[in-house]
């Protein structure tokens, strides 16, 4: 902050951090003592359970429901699996299959000694985590061997609904210089309390996040990367009712980034607040542990609230999300906080306000990569108008040194992009990043000018907001429509029935193992 371009007051900044820490601690307390069906399912996944039954119900669901139906989930699914492993000598996968076949009832087995169960499960889980970590090591080596792109990384969505078509689109993205391909999910996967199984070709507005789809994409992109000597990253969404499960799947398949923000589900998918925040905590822990970069969703607020008025809520949310991520053990270098270029086109001096906001985010979180999103809300069918906005967006991205940028496409206001639209978008990015390569270094902002003043005002308002939330708590703030102009109450919303109060003796091997190495 010492050489802030914006003349920010370090006192205000640390007061914001302090308030955010308080808010995050409150949240931790409020969600403590509870687990959820999806957290438990991700434990089964990280113990090696995969597959689906004849009705396409995933085995992690079969297993967890089985225990839950029998009132045993308060102890954690790991307890029952561990016991069954000891009693039957089978692997978690075999156990799941037996349960599915109706041959085994976990809660009816003899119970081994608690310590023994714990040890067995921890051992099993540690082995799995080690497998995954090993694969991530290889991946890091591959990335280094093939060479890594400098920031801002070009983050590009594909969304055909058909994983095989996504592969084609992703290759076009890679060829045009995309660094990260994010396979957007089929609409409303958020609302499914399970993760579909197998390769899929029938999504709407996106392709289902399934482990098979992840694998197909990963293989295709690894092949492209090897052929072309440039590493292409992959990303997907940990949101909705299966946040932590998708995090585990992504880990298995070597995904490099994950959109990971419970607020999206809470605000826009009406998922219960507590459910969302518990799932998020474990989900982020998993992402954090394996070195996966998480993207938060503040940009979404600007799609429903006015970008000028809502700017302080974005900044406040970044402070909170940053603390919540820390609490889950995600280091700064893996926290890509959300932000967006969303001021309405005719606003006088909008570029100055955008610049102020983008620079503010960079200065507040200098070690976080930031996920900067393109203009979308005010875009329409005039392809040229959108392309012009994208050009200035690209300019602000490079001039403020964002960590990653979701690229804009000319058809933003109409379609999920056609194959060539992303290429046109990437060509724009290339042009601007190169033409304005050192612009950020080159310019200074006038003391007390429009940009400095705007940034200072946004920070000041964010501070007020954070202090208020620290008083009332995050839940109440959400109820008061603080974020994205949407109000949600703590005792309603989807997935609330999946929250389970833990009992004496509950344990979660994933959390235990990951906390050991967690970020201090």
């Amino acid at each position: 902050m010492s050489n802030s371009k914006l003349g920010l007051d370090p006192g205000v900044v640390s007061a914001c951090r302090q308030a955010a820490r308080q808010i995050a601690e409150q949240v931790s307390e409020q969600v403590a003592g509870r687990t959820t069906v999806s957290v438990e399912r991700s434990v089964t996944r990280l113990l090696g359970v995969d597959g689906a039954d004849s009705l396409d119900v995933p085995l992690p669901n079969v297993l967890v429901d089985h225990v839950h139906d029998r009132g045993g989930l308060g102890r954690g699914v790991a307890y029952w699996i561990g016991n069954a492993m000891l009693q039957t000598g089978r692997t978690p996968q075999q156990i799941a299959e037996s349960v599915s076949a109706g041959e085994l009832v976990l809660t009816e087995l003899d119970l081994a000694e608690e310590r023994a169960i714990h040890t067995r499960v921890m051992e099993e889980c540690a082995a799995r985590l080690k497998d995954i970590s090993g694969r991530f090591e290889e991946r890091r080596a591959m990335r280094e061997r093939l060479g890594d792109s400098p920031a801002p990384l070009r983050y590009v969505l594909t969304a055909t609904g058909d994983v095989y078509e996504d592969v084609v689109h992703a290759k076009a993205v890679a060829e045009a210089g995309g660094d990260i391909v994010a396979v957007i999910r089929s609409t409303a996967q958020s609302l499914l309390d399970y993760v579909p199984y197998g390769p899929t070709t029938e999504g709407y507005g996106g392709t289902f996040a399934t482990q098979a789809n992840f694998r197909i994409m990963r293989e295709a992109m690894d092949e492209w990367s090897e052929q072309h000597g440039r590493y292409v990253r992959l990303s997907s969404f940990c949101s909705g009712l299966c946040m932590s499960e998708i995090a585990s799947m992504g880990a298995w398949e070597g995904f490099d980034n994950m959109v990971n923000d419970a607020l999206y589900g809470i605000l826009y998918r009406d998922i219960n607040i507590v459910r969302g925040l518990i799932d998020q905590r474990v989900s982020r822990m998993i992402n954090g542990y394996f070195g996966v970069v998480i993207n938060t969703g503040e940009d979404n607020y600007l799609r429903t609230a006015d970008a000028i008025e809502a700017a302080p809520s974005v900044t406040a949310s970044q402070f909170i999300n940053h603390q919540l991520a820390h609490e889950s053990g995600v280091p700064d270098s893996q926290i890509a906080l959300g932000d967006a270029f969303e001021i309405d086109v005719p606003v006088r001096n909008s570029l100055l306000y955008q610049w102020a906001q983008a620079q503010l985010t960079r200065e507040l979180f200098p070690d976080c990569p930031v996920k900067y999103m393109p203009p979308t809300r005010h875009m329409d069918g005039n392809l040229f108008r959108t392309h012009a906005s994208d050009t200035l967006f690209n300019l602000v991205t490079i001039a403020t040194g964002q960590g990653l940028q979701t690229i804009g496409v000319p058809t933003e206001g109409i379609f999920t992009p056609h194959i060539h639209d992303r290429v046109l978008g990437l060509q724009n990015v290339d042009y601007v990043f190169n033409a304005a390569h050192d612009l950020g270094e080159e310019i200074e902002f006038k003391q007390g000018g429009v940009i400095q003043t705007r940034a200072q005002e946004v920070l000041a308002s964010a501070h007020v907001l954070l202090e208020r939330i620290a008083q009332t708590g995050l839940f109440r703030a959400i109820e008061q429509a603080t974020f994205g102009d949407v109000s949600r109450s703590v005792d309603a919303g989807r997935g609330i029935e999946g929250i389970v109060t833990v009992e004496e003796g509950y344990f979660n091997p994933v959390v235990e193992l990951m906390r050991e190495v967690s970020y201090a």
């Binding site: 969304a159 084609v168 060829e175 609409t187 826009y268 009406d270 329409d380 069918g381 194959i419």
Partner: protein, 251 residues
Amino acid sequence: MPRSVDLTAVVPYADHLDDGLVQLSFTLPVPYSLAARKAALELAGKMGFEDPEVVHYQQLTDGYTYFVMYGRCVQSIDFTELQGDGFDIEYMSEEEIERFAEEQVGRAIVVVGASTGSDTHSVGIDAMLNLKGYHGHHGLEGYRSFRTYNLGSQVPNSVLVAKAIEVGADAILVSQTVTQQNLHVHNLTELVEMVEAEGRRGEMILACGGPRVSNELAKELGYDAGFSKGTYPHHLATFIVRELASRVAAG
């Protein structure tokens, strides 16, 4: 002397009257090559363009080539027929609508709206129904003559239809934004079928909207009207009160 447009045979205008020039762009799933260029030219020929020309083409990835082209369109349109077609609707203002409704309908008009299916885009339906409205124009909630129910987003068609029947709605209003793979067409069709299955189609006005919904599409799917980008609440309200008034008049 200036030549004047022959409205009975209108063709595209770029630089000169009747030059017919049209810009097009598309991708062909063929490898980047001179043969690809030739394929694009032939395809444009099949679309009926004369003197098609590729002004830019590039490889997207192995086996996919993108083209920007121009061609001369030789088909023409008789615009005089369309003009007469009553397309240029005169919208009433909020005040006019209130007065008209009072005089011609004479009771509260009940409307139920939602963004249906898995669609979570609620901004469109909110723009029509909520007091706040859109770009400084009140939503129907702010009209004396309307009673509104906005069920929000992600509403199953069955829930919407049930609510409409429950409150005796005059109109059902549906918003659809996600259109990839024609999701909106499926959702919109399902709703009409449900209303028909309930035997209520005659009693209710069905209107839909969204960025890629057109009046033509809406009618094709069995709705009374469709509204696209640029719609303000008073456009919708004008349509509803006129339609109701004529139904009232028809008895």
